[in-house]
Each structure stands twice: as C-alpha cells, then as structure tokens.
Amino acid sequence: MTLEIVLVVAGALFSIGLFGVLARRNIIAVIMSLELMFNGVLVAAIGFSRFTAPAALVGVDGAITESAVRSALTGHMFAVFVISIAAAETALALALVFAFFRAKQSVEITDATDMKN
C-alpha cells in the first residue's frame, strides 16, 4: 500500500464520478455522481495525510509538541470541512431538484433550458 495506489483509487472514483456527471440525464443521478467525485478527492486528501508528515514534525526527536501533532492532522481537518460542505450542498441541491420538478414536472437535465439564449 503506497501513496501511488491510494491516488489511483481516488482518481478512479473521481473519473467514474466525472463520467456519471457528464453522461447521466437525470439530475438526481448527476448529484449521486457528484458525491462520488467528492469522495475521490477526500480519499486523496486522507492518503496524503497518511503518507506524509508536515514540516513541523521533521527533525524532532524525543518530545514533540501537541500543536505539531495537530498540524499533522491538516488532511483530516480538510476532510471534515469538505464532508460538512458536501452535506450542505446535497441538501440545497435536492431542494433545487424539488423546485425544478415542481416547475417542470421533469428531472431531466436537458429540460433545464429556461436561461438558454
């Protein structure tokens, strides 16, 4: 298990999500593919956090300060914030889907043409 393998798995998730976002016509399916892309990015962030140590911890021997350990968790903090924002984004996106369905009686992404031209 190396950083490269983790990045390949993250890239595979991201690419599958990208295909879904471009190929699907149902808006809910597009949102599901977006979640896959989020997860791909997060796996990459956690992978970097796991296989690297920040500069604050290099060359320290014996006792290391607590703030240095906390700065080693930047990748984890990134994941916490992205997960929270993804949850907010999904709630808002599904509200928009409901509003769109109420206006158009459709969830096809090709029907969202009100602002075209």
């Binding site: 993250a10 990208l18 290391i64 924002i85 709630a91 599904l94």
Partner: protein, 217 residues
C-alpha cells in the same frame, strides 16, 4: 515509499478489497438504470470509502463518513428518488455518452500518470524513520505545568507500531478544531445555517405563492 510507513500485508489486502468494493459500486452507480438500485450502490460505495479511511488511520473521518454519507446523504437522495418517482426514463444516458467516457478515461489516465511520474522526494525524506521519530511508535500526552502539553514518545519501535503517521490522531481533532481551525469552524456553522435556510426557502417559496394566489381568488 517504504520503511516506517509500511502497514503489513493484511492492511494492504484489506485496502485492495475495500477499493474493489468501492470502485465496483461506483461503476454500478453511474451505469444502473434503476435509480433505487443506484442509491443502494452509492451507499455501498460510501461504506467502502469509510473502510479505506479506517485502513489509512483516519478513524474519526471514517466514523463521520458513515454517519454523514451513509446515514444522511444516501437517505436524503433515496428520499428524493422515491419522492419524485420519475423513474420511467431515469436510466437514459445523454447523447454525449462517448465524450463522457473519453473524458473519464483521460482523467484517470492523467491522474495515474501524475501519481507514478511525480517524484515525491519531499515525502520520501519525511518517510525516513529518523525524521519522524516520535510519530512512529507510541506516545502519550503528559500534562504540562503551563502552556502547551508536551507529547512524550514512549518508544520508537517501528516493528511494534501500527506504522501510521499518527497512532492516535482522533483525540487531537477536537483541540485542533477549536484552536488552529476555529475560524473555518465557525464559518462552517454559518454556512450550514445559510444552506438549511436556503433549502427551506427554495422548497417553500412556490407554496407561499400558491397560497397567495388562492387568497386572491
């Protein structure tokens, strides 16, 4: 990419199994014509990603992943699928199917190319066991007389450690949230409130219009 950060064959095997489950479920999500089945595959994929987090020593993120993604977002999307119920042509793929497939493959190829052709020299330096002395191995937090607590390394035995960059990272996430990351944390709370109110406004807006029209009539 070896030495201090090796996690042993069992963790590697578990990582590959979790990755296979995740990627297979993700492929089902983007190809399945039945949206309800796609949601179930999406939840499965989230569970696989949570397993990857656990294997990568991110226990707290794994728990949050299961709580938020599997427990909340999957259910929210399943709710939307069943509420809207426009499943007749849910599986239709757009006409740009070929372009989408080419984009996905090109993206994956470029990520693999970058991952294997980048010289992760800086990371390799840090992977030196001497450089991360104190990170690999067991350490404990001792109460300081004032100011910051210091963390004393109990042992640097690489063989005996879990081989993680942080043996016990979860207990430091809370202090980090209210010290180094307090401003983003509070901003996040504001964002969540704004998103929830926004979702309510978007959902309810038309109903209020209808009510006003009913009153006028």
């Amino acid at each position: 990419m070896s030495g201090a950060f090796d996690s042993g064959p069992i963790a590697t095997l578990a990582f590959f199994v979790a990755s296979a489950i995740t990627i297979a479920s993700a492929i089902i999500v983007v190809t399945q014509r039945d949206l309800v089945r796609a949601v179930v595959a999406l939840a499965m994929s989230f569970v696989g990603v949570a397993a990857i987090y656990f294997i990568l020593n991110a226990e707290f993120i794994g728990v949050v992943q299961i709580l938020v993604y599997v427990g909340a977002i999957s259910i929210l999307i399943a709710f939307a699928v069943m509420f809207i119920g426009d499943l007749a042509n849910a599986g239709t793929l757009s006409q740009s199917r070929l372009v989408s497939a080419v984009s996905g493959v090109l993206m994956l190829a470029s990520i693999i190319f970058v991952a294997y052709n980048t010289d992760w020299t800086a990371i390799d330096e840090v992977n030196d066991p001497d450089a991360v002395a104190g990170l690999v191995g067991h350490y404990e937090v001792t109460g300081g007389s004032g100011g910051e607590n210091s963390i004393v390394v109990a042992g640097n035995d690489v063989e005996d450690s879990r081989g993680g960059a942080l043996v016990d990272g979860s207990s430091h996430i809370g202090p980090a949230l209210i010290r180094e990351f307090v401003l983003p944390f509070e901003t996040l709370g504001l964002l969540l409130i704004a998103a929830l109110i926004g979702a309510l406004v978007v959902i309810r807006g038309r109903q209020e219009d209808d009510a006003q029209e009913d009153d006028a009539a």
